[in-house]
């Protein structure tokens, strides 16, 4: 009889333990994300900084949270595997540069807005989506930050890394996948890299 109790409590304990871990991981990520946002807000509001300096600081703050490299690879889909190592390196470099440029140009429009995490989803053990609202006086913009947890931690990166951002249901990554795919149907990867380098 006693052993039944033991098993029961063991299972119960395991259940609460794993639930606790999951919840813990989510709240930690949320806390970490919001603290990053606070850091960005401080930089944005610092009137002493010049525009370029400010953008560079923002990118520096956010870079550890983003897996730009993975985004670059995913944006090419199956074509990625066909690339030579030199092309792979060049493409990643161009893509990462473009992402950073794009982000800092968008942040320019940022004015007196607030970020709230309204929901956390964890579809898989190593995926967490933070569903946030960017709240301004007039508007509410739903932005989803999708994180993954690499099996092995990357150098100078966080544990959980953003691999896609969805703004009002539009995924940045999916949009790139679609436009690159269409581009590569008629043009070469070299032409795509040229186009990317002209953008930044």
């Amino acid at each position: 009889m006693r052993s039944i109790y033991k098993v029961f409590f063991l299972l119960l304990g395991m259940f609460f333990f794993t639930q606790g871990l999951i919840a813990d991981e989510q709240t930690e990520l949320k806390k970490h994300f919001l603290s990053k946002i606070d850091e960005v807000i401080l930089i944005v509001e610092d009137k002493k900084l010049l525009k370029d300096e400010r953008n560079a600081n923002i990118v520096k703050t956010l870079t550890p949270m983003f897996d730009f490299k993975l985004m670059a690879k995913l944006s090419l889909g199956n074509r990625w595997k066909e690339l030579s190592q030199a092309d792979k390196d060049k493409f990643v470099e161009l893509y990462v540069h473009r992402m950073k440029q794009s982000y800092s140009s968008k942040i320019d429009a940022y004015k007196d807005e607030k970020v709230e995490v309204k929901e956390i989803q964890q579809p898989k053990e190593d995926r967490i989506a933070l569903i946030t609202d960017l709240i301004s006086k007039q508007d509410k913009l739903e932005i989803v930050y999708k994180f993954h947890k690499p099996k092995k931690q990357l150098e100078s990166k966080d544990n959980w890394l953003v691999y896609d951002v969805e703004i009002l249901g539009v995924s940045i990554l999916k949009t790139d996948i679609a436009q690159f795919k269409e581009f590569l149907q008629t043009k070469t990867i070299t032409a795509l890299m040229d186009a990317l380098s002209k953008q930044s």
Binding site: E25, E28, W80, A109, K140, L154, E155, A178
Partner: protein, 257 residues
């Protein structure tokens, strides 16, 4: 028995303590994760829906036309307009137009069985038309905190499983598809801004008046959302498929909401 519980309690405390430190932990490993197997683990998420696009030739031309029209007409006009009118006035114009489209939102929320939303839309309409001075202000949101629930007939059809059909880029209005384009017709019976004589009172009665009112609304909208299009355009490698994809993804999301 007690011992087991105590051991569990200790385990729980100890381990959850460890996990909470995860994020601040110093970075120790630096292993490149370029394995293709990792990419494969994302393949199900990254599947991109093929968009039916038999009109791509025309659509491309119209996208370039719209893009040029934005740079050479819409933007200069809206900049001049925003220099003349204070932002609060322009916001009121925007509120006025939004308020007047209430019947579209009300009916389409009902058609999709979203009765609570249509009730909220009615409340918004009553509050904003009265206290909000014929819709020039939005006290329903700013004071009563009632959110708007935008729905149109295209979304209603999508809700019942009607696909978008071929993508169509409309002159000046930009990306659309057959479903959403055709839906503008039934929705036109539900607004006070239309292009025909109706048996009920409407703000505009002829195509010329309709285009005038719509252009005013559009210029006003651009003046309030300056740079939005330009910032978006910056990330395009090829503008037409880029805008097409954004439109279709956005509509899918609106339909799911």
């Amino acid at each position: 028995m007690r011992i087991i519980l105590v051991v569990f309690a200790m385990l729980l405390l100890g381990l959850s303590g460890c996990s909470s430190k995860n994020i601040e932990e110093p970075k120790e490993t630096s292993i490149e994760h370029t394995q293709d197997s990792e990419l494969d683990s994302f393949s199900d998420e990254m599947e991109v829906k093929e968009i039916y696009d038999p009109l791509s030739g025309y659509n491309r031309v119209m996208t370039s036309f719209n893009d040029g029209a934005y740079d050479y007409v819409l933007k200069p006009v809206s900049t001049g307009y925003s220099n003349l009118f204070h932002v609060e006035i322009r916001r009121s114009v925007d509120n006025f137009f939004n308020n007047i489209y209430f019947p579209i939102r009300f009916v389409n929320n009902i058609l999709q069985g979203k009765f609570y939303y249509s009730m909220q839309e009615s409340e918004r309409f009553v509050i904003n038309t009265t206290i909000g001075l014929v819709g020039l202000f939005d006290p329903a949101k700013s004071y009563f905190e009632i959110e708007a629930h935008k729905e149109d007939f295209g979304q209603t059809l999508g809700f019942y499983g009607v696909g978008g059909g071929p993508h169509i880029v409309l002159p000046l209005l930009g990306p659309s598809n057959l479903r959403d384009f055709a839906s503008m017709y039934p929705d036109s019976f539900l607004t006070f801004i239309d292009y025909d004589e109706r048996s009920y009172w409407t703000l505009t009665d002829t195509p010329a008046e309709y285009i005038g009112a719509k252009s005013f609304e559009y210029i006003n909208y651009i003046s309030l959302n300056k740079d939005r299009y330009e910032k978006m355009r910056e990330d395009a490698v090829d503008l037409y498929p880029y805008l097409r994809d954004i439109y279709e993804q956005r509509r899918d999301k609106q339909i799911k909401e």
